[in-house]
Amino acid sequence: MHDDTGIGGANSRFPATQWSAVVAARSKDTAERGRALDTLLTAYWKPVYKYVRLRWNRSPEDAQDLTQGFFTELLERDLLARYDPLKSRLRTYLRVCVDSTISNADKAAKRKKRGGDAAHIALDFDAAENELSQTAMDPARLASPESPEDFFEKEWTRSLFAFCIEELQRECAARGKSVHFRLFEQYDVDDAGERRLSYEELAREHGLAVTDVTNYLAWVRREFRRIVLERLREICGDEEEFRREARSVLGWDPR
Amino acid sequence: MNKVLLGILLGAVLGAVDGGTAWFTPAARTQMAGIIFGSTIKGIIAGVAAGFFARKVNSVPLGILFGLAVGFVLAFIVAYMQHGYYFEILLPGSLVGVIVGYATQRYGVATAAATR
């Protein structure tokens, strides 16, 4: 049911012991570490790239190299060993690591040597570049200290959700519920333009009863939530961090 | 204790005291016993009246007025019998009535089966 292409393993349900990429990244087993890196990479490469582009004002080419280089360094220098979930969130820690990596001296030489050999996953930098222009983020606005954090968080959430939607789509297709997914896509994912579609309109379009639309949407949203939580769990160190992150990603923030 | 009993006791005490202050008037000293006795009775009557009133009517201002009226009337009777000393008898007598009227409203319980 769950597509296995190197994304992080077949963890579609909670196993007896929660697999965590943060923990696995410190494992002695190289295959395990590789898998951990893949998971973290999938979750974080896009926000890191966008962050490097805007916060550090690098060109797309530089940003690509820096992004790939960062993740390699993450593994090689075991940067996650120093991560303490009680002191900060993982993404804050990673962002700070990105900052320090970039501001270190002699970046150029190191980058050329390592570029590109860490990732087993195709990183679609062009797509990321497109997204940047679509969100029309004003670099000048990153001046205040909170903004980098918020920006990074938002990009990370965007990345996570997009990824989970893909997984959701695959699952729905596999279970013969493509209509369900289509409704979800139309109502929650796509931007409607002027006005959001109503349930009646959706029902008419798909030849369903309105109550079906309500039920199907409810079902898909539940599945989406489940998938988000599962993927999130993989990149958290422990239960406590996971709960905090779940609340922050999915919850309503009075901020 | 209940209001009527409170009225009786307080009226008696105040009446006796009130009567006792007649000692400061040399002219009245010879009739001290009678004055004190009469004054005590006056106080008791005022106290009983105020106590019963307080049982029926729960209002401090009204209780004071009632006490004032009863005290005044009783004092007037005494003064009339004395053929004089109206001011000396009416003023303190009315005030005793006021005190008893207030006290029976404010303190004491309305019925034997008291609810706090």
């Binding site: 997009a162 929650d188 994912v189 309500t214 949407l217 409810a218 949203r221 939530r225 919850g251 309503w252 | -």
Partner: protein, 337 residues
């Protein structure tokens, strides 16, 4: 991969988080607040046509531990039928597996917001007495609140007081068998949940730096130390004392509190639990006595203070008698002339 706009993110987030009340008799109205373990929503009970509050577990709960705790919170509330304790109506599980319970929807203000509008000190003290009533009731049923603070107390439009958020409550004494808890298993499970409670890190005052069970400022010293074995009614007495202090001098000693009241607060918030009031009843009866102008057990008044108190209590009677004496003296002088 599809690009998600910012508004799409918001919709997805809302869609994923909003509880699906299908299959329950409730209709979602709006989100109200977020507590330690769950989110509180306003909803309509479609059967009875009344507004209720739903507390829904919003944290992921792989082991079922959190669900058990929420259910336990509901069960604790169900035992406490008192006008000062928020009544619970229902408990259940949503379609997505999240556990919830339904309780009375409380309209009103939190205590800290409300007291700004209560100018009269006796009124505040009477409010405090109502809070004590509710807590004493819970203690009589063998339940400690453990998280008493102004934010957890609601005051309704008629001055009625409701003690909320019993998520950290501890059952110290099984005063009666848990209804519906007939089997041994469930009792054991409850007990296990109980111990897990102590180990758990969930708390309303929790920070990113670690687990604190309760809220600093209102939490008793033994609770702050994590000395769980020693927790009893007096921990709640401490919290109530802190609340009283807040009520009596909200700006923190800009206006000095009367000495008997200050002494009551000090006794209630004594560092050592043995020095505090032994029960909430003792605390509230001292406050009651203060309101009635009687001496309080916490404070040894000077002779002068005693006279002053006596005077205040019997002021009118004293003045009347004084008036009588003045009249008497006046009469005597006039007679002499």
């Amino acid at each position: 991969m599809k690009f998600l706009s910012n508004s799409a993110l918001e919709r997805l987030r809302a869609g994923a988080d909003t509880p699906d009340l299908g299959g329950t008799p409730y209709r979602l109205l709006e989100r109200v607040a977020r507590g330690g373990m769950g989110v509180v929503y306003a909803a309509e009970d479609t059967r009875l046509g009344r507004r209720v509050a739903l507390k829904v577990l919003d944290l992921p709960d792989a082991t079922g531990e959190l669900a058990a705790r929420l259910v336990r919170e509901a069960r604790v509330l169900a035992r406490l039928e008192h006008p000062g304790i928020v009544p619970v109506h229902d408990v259940g599980r949503l379609a997505d597996g999240r556990v919830f319970y339904a309780m009375k929807f409380v309209e009103g203000q939190r205590l800290d917001e409300h007291t700004a509008s209560v100018k009269s000190a006796p009124d505040r003290l009477r409010l405090f007495l109502r809070i004590c009533d509710a807590v004493a009731f819970a203690h009589a049923r063998g339940i400690l609140h453990r998280d008493l603070k102004p934010a957890n107390i609601m005051v309704g439009p008629f001055g009625e007081v409701l003690v909320m958020d019993w998520g950290l409550a501890k059952i110290i004494r099984e005063s009666e068998p848990d209804p519906g808890c007939g089997s041994e298993e469930t009792v054991v499970e409850l007990a296990r949940t109980e111990t897990r409670d102590e180990d758990s890190t969930e708390g309303s005052g929790r920070t990113a730096h670690g687990a604190v069970l309760g809220t600093p400022g209102y939490m008793s010293p033994e609770q702050a130390r994590g000395d769980v074995a020693r927790l009893d009614e007096r921990s709640d007495v401490y919290s109530l004392g802190a609340i009283l202090r807040q009520l009596v001098s909200p700006d923190n000693a800009s206006i000095a509190a009367p000495r008997p009241l200050a002494a009551i607060c000090a006794k209630a918030t004594a560092e050592n639990s043995a020095d505090r009031y032994a029960s909430v009843q003792e605390l509230s009866s001292d406050v009651s006595r203060y309101l009635d102008g009687l001496p309080v057990s916490a404070y040894r008044e000077t002779y002068l203070e005693r006279v002053g108190r006596f005077y205040r209590r019997y002021r009118v009677a004293i003045l009347l008698i004084a008036a009588y004496l003045v009249a008497r003296v006046l009469v005597l002088f006039l007679a002499r002339r």
